[in-house]
């Protein structure tokens, strides 16, 4: 195992006056959001997994459950306590709300040899995201850069993004496939939230240390029962987070990773990993930053109505690079290489940030257990070996 990355936790700022919300009052926070017209979406148990879905109250949270994750393995387990956010994370990311996997872009109506197009009006649903992990906050930042900060903007993402309230929950128990500390995205949220909580379970107490990150967050805190945090409580949360940072299940050495990838395009390493890869696209479907889409043009049976639907796509499919005559990336090797070198390398040049946030989903949900942290290490080592020769 490589050495642990340097972890520098942002101490909970005292100027922002963190407050304590007792577990008993936690639902009041959710209800306050509801009262303001937000639809609560967050973790709940469905089909033996944590999924993000509509919540009515804190009772819908996966209280007392956790999820054990390993390469190609995910299992829900009962906890010995009643933690509300005592799980790691499920397969889905918040992308499903901000950037739906299927979205009708427009409809066309044929009339007299011509046709007219009616675009889908961008929607701004008022979702309150409950329990956004710090790595996922960064993933949202990554999507913002891709879809809002380039030369063209995705109007649907833009509209959806506007309506979101973000309640982040820091990670005190990272999973075995987690490596946010390596990617500098967690386990503590530093920005991009309205409210950030740290869940603290002591022998006789269960409370949340809450910090606001926006005006709206502050207002919400004023509407619910809470009290200023004592020094000891702040310390207790900070300790839990420090411990979390040290107990990441995985590490990924990002030093010079962009160059490592760029310089090793023809390394036989890629063939070795490709032999195991099924090109199933699972990693891209669970990835919170994968943004590739395709469009489907359809017509109704009578032919007078047509539509274009945008849906998530994956660089692991053969059709992804199809140009007349064939696909550019014909081999699994070239497709895996595209995915990993994009995530860990080219993304920096394209969007000024890593495409990987260290959430570990691609490790857990890979049916053959390919582990991006292992592969990054193997690439580094294979380069070292070739230099020794």
């Amino acid at each position: 195992m490589a050495s642990q990355p340097n972890v520098s936790l942002k101490s909970v700022s005292k100027e922002k006056a963190p407050v304590i919300i007792d577990r008993a009052n936690f639902d009041a926070l959710l209800q306050a959001l509801k009262k303001r017209g937000y639809q609560l979406v967050g973790p709940t148990i469905h089909n033996n997994a944590i999924v993000y879905d509509t919540l009515e109250s804190a009772a819908d949270l996966p209280v007392g459950y956790t999820d054990r994750q390993e390469k190609g393995a995910y299992r829900l387990e009962k906890r010995s306590d009643k933690a509300c956010f005592g799980y790691v994370m499920g397969p889905q990311s918040w992308k499903k709300y901000l950037f739906p996997n299927r979205l009708k872009l427009w409809e066309a109506q044929r009339n007299n040899g011509s046709f007219s197009i009616t675009p889908t009006e961008p929607q701004t649903p008022r979702y309150a995201f409950i329990g956004v992990r710090p790595c996922e906050l960064t993933a949202i930042d990554v999507l913002d850069r891709v879809l809002l900060q380039g030369s063209y903007v995705d109007p649907h993402y833009q509209a959806r993004r506007k309506g979101i309230f973000i309640l982040a929950v820091n990670c005190t128990e990272p999973g075995s496939t987690c490596f946010c500390a390596s990617m500098d995205t967690g386990p503590q949220a530093s920005k991009g939230f309205d409210l950030a909580l740290t869940e603290v379970l002591e022998k006789k107490r269960h409370y949340f240390l809450a910090e606001s990150g926006s005006k709206l967050g502050e207002e919400i805190l004023r509407e619910i029962p809470c009290q200023p945090a004592a020094e000891a409580e702040i310390d207790s949360a900070a300790k839990a987070l420090e411990k979390a940072a040290r107990s990441m299940g995985r590490t990924l050495d990002t030093a010079g990773i962009k160059e490592l990838i760029a310089d090793n395009f023809d390394n036989p390493f890629w063939d070795r990993v490709a032999k195991r890869c099924l090109s199933c696209a699972n990693c891209t479907m669970v990835c919170p930053t994968c943004f590739c889409t395709t469009v489907e043009d359809t017509t109704e049976l009578a032919g007078d109505k047509a539509a274009r639907v945008r849906r998530w796509d994956s660089c692991f499919t053969l059709e992804f690079t199809y140009i007349h005559g064939g696909s550019v990336r014909q081999t699994v090797m070239s497709r895996y290489r595209q995915w990993m070198s994009h995530k860990l390398g080219r993304w920096y040049d394209q969007f000024g940030i890593s495409g990987c946030v260290g959430c570990g989903r691609c490790i857990t949900w890979c049916p053959v257990g390919i582990d991006i942290t292992e592969e990054a290490r193997a690439l580094r080592e294979s380069k070292k070996r070739s230099e020794l020769k």
Partner: protein, 160 residues
């Protein structure tokens, strides 16, 4: 003779050839002119010469019964044509037909071979020049084989 030497020295194929070698081979050279559709040579005939094209355009063709002649390549001004004279049994493998009025210097193959036998340095010098032309033609033929412009509709079997 002086005229021929000047023409030879100005032709790209003999560019920068040492004057003593020019002197040596000029005796092998003669002028020729081919009218449109006139054959410079035909497949199977003895190949005892090569051509430095000075002006015009020559098609290297092959004949397929029942079809118009298939042009493999054309050779234009500044280029050289024919190397079957280099190796026994000295027979042309394709037809060469002038597509327009073509002027060329004809080099006597036997004459050049004899001089090259006598002076191996001259022989090497000429062989390098021919190898360069051969390499260009081969590469160009390979590219033609790739058939880059073919419609993908008819190409799927061979694409993979």
């Amino acid at each position: 003779m002086e005229d021929l030497k000047k023409i030879l020295s100005e032709h790209p194929f003999f560019r920068d050839l040492a004057p003593e070698y020019l002197e040596a081979i000029v005796g092998c050279a003669s002028n020729a002119r081919f009218n449109t559709n006139e054959y410079l040579f035909k497949e199977g005939q003895p190949a005892e010469k090569f051509f430095l094209i000075r002006h015009g355009l020559v098609a290297i063709e092959t004949y397929i019964p029942g079809q118009a002649p298939l042009t493999i390549q054309t050779v234009e001004e500044g280029n050289v044509m024919g190397w079957s004279w280099l190796f026994p049994p000295h027979r042309w493998h394709f037809d060469a037909r002038a597509l327009e009025l073509t002027r060329a210097i004809v080099m006597d193959g036997k004459c050049i071979r004899d001089k090259s036998e006598k002076d191996k340095v001259l022989g090497y010098e000429l062989m390098v020049r021919f190898a360069r032309v051969l390499q260009e033609r081969l590469e160009s033929t390979r590219l033609q084989l790739v058939d880059v412009y073919k419609s993908p509709k008819y190409a799927t079997i061979f694409n993979r």
